[in-house]
Amino acid sequence: MNYEFDFGVVFAQWPLVLEGIVVTLRLAFFSTIFGFLLGTLCAVGRTGGPKWLQIVIGVYVEVIRNTPLIIQAYFIIFGLSSVGVRWPIEVGATFALVVNIGAYTTEIMRAGIESIKRTQIEAAECLGLGRLKIYLSIVVRQAMERVYPALTGQYVLLMLVTSVFSAVGVEELFGIANRIQSETYRNFEVFVLLGIAYLALSMLVRLAFFLLNLALFPRRRRLGTTL
C-alpha cells in the first residue's frame, strides 16, 4: 500500500462541515418533534378511534414501513414540485422525514398504549379525569415511558438517515462531504472523517435523549425500573 493519506485538505474545509452538521441536526430535530406528534396522534387513533380511522392509519403505517425512505423522499419532493408546490428543499425534506418517522412512531407508541392496563383508565375515570386528561397523563405518558428505549433507537436512526437527503440536494453533512470529496479527490479520507462525525452526532443524540428521559420521567428515575 503506497497511498499517502492527506487529512489536512479535508480539515481545511471545516466551516463548510460545520454548516452541514447544523443542517443535519436541524433536519433531525424538527422531524423528531413533528414525527413524534404525528405518530402519537396516529397511535391514539389506531387504538381508540373509529373503525374507518383505524383502517386509514393502518394502511399509512404499512405503506410507509414497507417502502424505502428514498422512494418516499423522491415521491414527495419531486411529486410536490411537479404539481407546483415550491417549498425550500429543507422544508420538503423535513416533511418527507416526518411522514416516514410518523409511521414508525405509530407502531412503537401503539405497542406502548396497548400495554397500558385497562384498570389504569378505569381508575382515572373514577378519579373524574376528563377524556383528554386521561389520554395525555395516563395513557400516552405511561406508554411513552415504557417504549422510550425503542423511541430513542428509532430517532438515532432517523438522524443517520437524514444523509439520504443529499440525493435530493439538501446541503446536510453528507451532501457537504460529497462536495468536498469532488473538490479534493480525497474520497477515503472524507468518508473516514464523515464516519467519525456521524458517530459523534449519534452519541450526542443519545445523550440528549438520556437527559430528556431524566427530565420527563422522574418517577422512573426514583424507582430505577421500567414499571
Partner: protein, 215 residues
C-alpha cells in the same frame, strides 16, 4: 408508462432482489459469527465486537458504502464492481443489526437450559448445537424475516454512492427523462411494497404462532 419503461423498472427490481439475497446470505453468516462472539467466554472478544457494533450502528449506511467503495483501491485493488461494494457494505451493516438481534435470541434461552446441558455432561459445542441453537433459532425466525424487509429497503440507497443499478435508481432515471414522479416513484414504491409486505405480514404471523407458550 409504456412497456419498455415497465421492463426497465423490472430490471431494477432484479438488481434489488439480487443485492438483497446476497446481503441476506453473507449477512446471515457474519451475523451468526457476531452473535456467537457477543456471548463468547473471552471478555476481550466480547468487548471488541461490542465496540465495533456500537460504531457501525452509529454511522449511516451511506458512509459504510463510501468506505467499501473507495477503500479497496487503497489496498491495490484497481476496480471494485458496484455489486461487490454494495454487497460488502450491506453485509457489514446488516451484521451489526442482525447480529445484535440474534445475540438477544441466544441470551433469551433460559439459563437453566445451559445448566441442564452442562449437568448432562455435554461439551461446549454439543451444548450450543444441540440445546441452545435450536431453541434460539425458533425465537429468531420472526425478527429475522422482519429484518429482511430492512435489507430490501436499505438496498435502495446503494445507487447513491456506489451507483448500483437497483429499482430506486431506475425509477430516478425514468423520472429524470419523463418528469412524471408520481407514476414512476409510485410504481417503484408498489414493487417494493409487493416484495416487502408479505415478509412483514409473515413475520407478524409467525411471531403470534411461535409465541403460543408465552400466552
Amino acid at each position: 408508462m409504456n412497456s419498455q419503461q415497465a421492463l426497465f423498472l423490472l430490471q431494477g427490481l432484479e438488481g434489488t432482489v439480487i443485492l438483497s439475497l446476497l446481503t441476506f446470505l453473507f449477512g446471515g453468516v457474519v451475523s451468526f459469527v457476531v452473535a456467537l462472539a457477543r456471548i463468547s467466554p473471552f471478555a476481550g472478544v466480547r468487548i471488541a465486537v461490542a465496540t465495533l457494533i456500537y460504531v457501525l450502528q452509529g454511522i449511516p449506511l451511506l458512509v459504510i458504502m463510501g468506505l467499501c467503495y473507495f477503500g479497496p483501491s487503497l489496498l491495490g485493488v484497481q476496480t471494485v464492481s458496484p455489486l461487490f461494494a454494495a454487497t460488502l457494505s450491506m453485509t457489514i451493516y446488516s451484521a451489526a443489526f442482525l447480529g445484535d438481534i440474534w445475540r438477544g435470541c441466544l441470551e433469551a434461552v433460559p439459563k437453566q437450559q445451559w445448566e441442564a446441558a452442562e449437568t448432562l455432561g455435554l461439551s461446549r459445542w454439543q451444548r450450543m448445537w444441540k440445546v441452545i441453537l435450536p431453541q434460539a433459532a425458533r425465537m429468531a425466525i420472526p425478527p429475522t424475516v422482519g429484518f429482511m424487509v430492512q435489507i430490501i429497503k436499505n438496498s435502495s440507497i446503494a445507487s447513491l454512492v456506489i451507483g448500483y443499478a437497483d429499482l430506486s435508481y431506475m425509477a430516478k432515471i425514468l423520472n429524470n427523462s419523463t418528469f412524471r414522479p408520481f407514476v414512476f416513484f409510485g410504481a417503484a414504491a408498489a414493487l417494493y411494497f409487493i416484495i416487502s409486505y408479505p415478509l412483514s405480514a409473515g413475520s407478524r404471523y409467525m411471531e403470534r404462532r411461535l409465541n403460543v407458550g408465552n400466552r
